[in-house]
């Protein structure tokens, strides 16, 4: 999977020059919005183009330059929102944040280097500015629907990281495959949620919740008891 924004010039031969989709993997076009400008990071908006939203990605193709276009997978779109406040941005737009390989290195400035070369994979913000702002709500809704069509892929490898557990069946399956998993569950309760991302993530977080619950219960009991006199407290209470 390609993380982040990328160049996209794969258009079909027709006059409109629609993007070529990966029909083999079931990609379908969901929405076409003509008259959209695109602004990457803090760069000025680029000449009006057409926005194509498919079940897998968002594509923007320039109307004037067939060699110019961008695309980003929904898997890389961390956040999207409608921005209407002219204080923050001059035109109402769809504001998006893009997940990149090196998130911590948020170099905002392509300013210093000039406009000719900038690294698309480092772009963390993208604004889509329709000439017709009344389309914003529709676009936002379509973004939401398509984002839900693209959950994180479940990695099948037996690595120690990112083996998300979605339901009890998976736990059982993994128990059957993995060795000593029950032992891990019952004797290794000290792992924290953040620390352990292993096969038994859910089981361990459940365990931790129960530990927390007991802690809360104690606090509650103490609160109740504080209302009574200490002398009345009996071991059975």
């Amino acid at each position: 999977m390609v993380v982040g924004l990328r160049h996209f010039t794969d258009r079909d031969g027709g006059g409109a020059g629609e993007p070529v989709l990966d029909a083999g993997s079931g990609e379908e076009l969901m929405h076409v919005q003509p008259g959209v400008s695109i602004a990457l990071a803090n760069r000025p908006p680029e000449s009006p183009g057409t926005l194509y939203i498919s079940t897998k990605q968002v594509m923007w193709l320039s109307d004037v330059d067939r060699a110019k276009g961008y695309a980003v997978d929904f898997l890389s779109l961390s956040l999207h929102a409608i921005s209407r406040d002219p204080e923050a941005y001059s035109s109402p737009c769809i504001y998006t944040q893009i997940e990149t390989e090196a998130d911590e290195d948020e170099s905002e400035g392509s300013d210093a280097e000039g406009d000719q070369i900038f690294d698309l994979t480092k772009i963390t913000e993208m604004r889509l500015i329709p000439t017709d702002p009344s389309q914003l709500d529709t676009l936002f809704q379509i973004f939401c629907e398509c984002a839900e069509l693209n959950p994180e892929p479940i990695e099948e490898e037996d690595g120690e990281e990112h083996n998300w557990v979605f339901n009890a069946d998976q736990i059982e399956n993994q128990d059957a495959e993995g060795e000593d998993s029950e032992w891990n569950f019952s004797h290794n309760p000290t792992n924290t949620i953040g620390h352990s991302n292993g096969n038994h993530d859910l089981a361990q977080s459940v365990l931790e919740l129960q530990i927390n619950d007991q802690r809360f219960e104690d606090a509650e009991e103490m609160e109740h008891e504080s209302h009574r006199s200490n002398d009345e407290r009996s071991p059975s209470a």
């Binding site: 779109l77 961390s78 956040l79 999207h80 929102a81 409608i82 921005s83 209407r84 406040d85 204080e87 923050a88 941005y89 504001y95 944040q97 997940e99 998130d103 963390t124 913000e125 936002f140 973004f143 939401c144 984002a147 839900e148 959950p151 994180e152 979605f166 339901n167 009890a168 069946d169 736990i171 059982e172 859910l202 089981a203 459940v206 365990l207 919740l209 129960q210 619950d213 809360f216 219960e217």
Partner: protein
């Protein structure tokens, strides 16, 4: 699906969602789906100096996979209910 059900019960409440890129957004929980994608309304960015461009945003959709923490309203945590649900989840029923 425990946490999905749990977050569904919090719809309409104020939560703070902290993203893995350190952006923290406070808002009313509008909806959540099975992937823990989160929609917030009436949002405001907690650290506005650092993210001035997010000021204009009043509602947003956050991809579940980029969420680091969700801070909950203290009275939105029903210990008894969670206790029960976690036990049932652990039994796999």
């Amino acid at each position: 699906m425990l946490f999905f059900s749990y977050f569904k019960d919090l719809v309409g409440r104020e939560v703070t969602v902290e993203l893995k890129n350190d952006l923290a957004i406070r808002g009313t929980l509008h909806s959540v789906d099975q992937y823990l994608n989160i929609k917030l309304e009436n949002t405001r960015v907690v650290d506005q100096d650092k993210y001035p461009h997010m000021l204009s945003v009043r509602n947003c959709f956050i991809r579940g996979s980029v969420v680091r923490y969700v801070q909950l309203p203290p009275d939105g945590v029903d210990i008894e209910l969670l206790h029960d649900a976690t036990r049932r989840e652990a039994r796999g029923s």
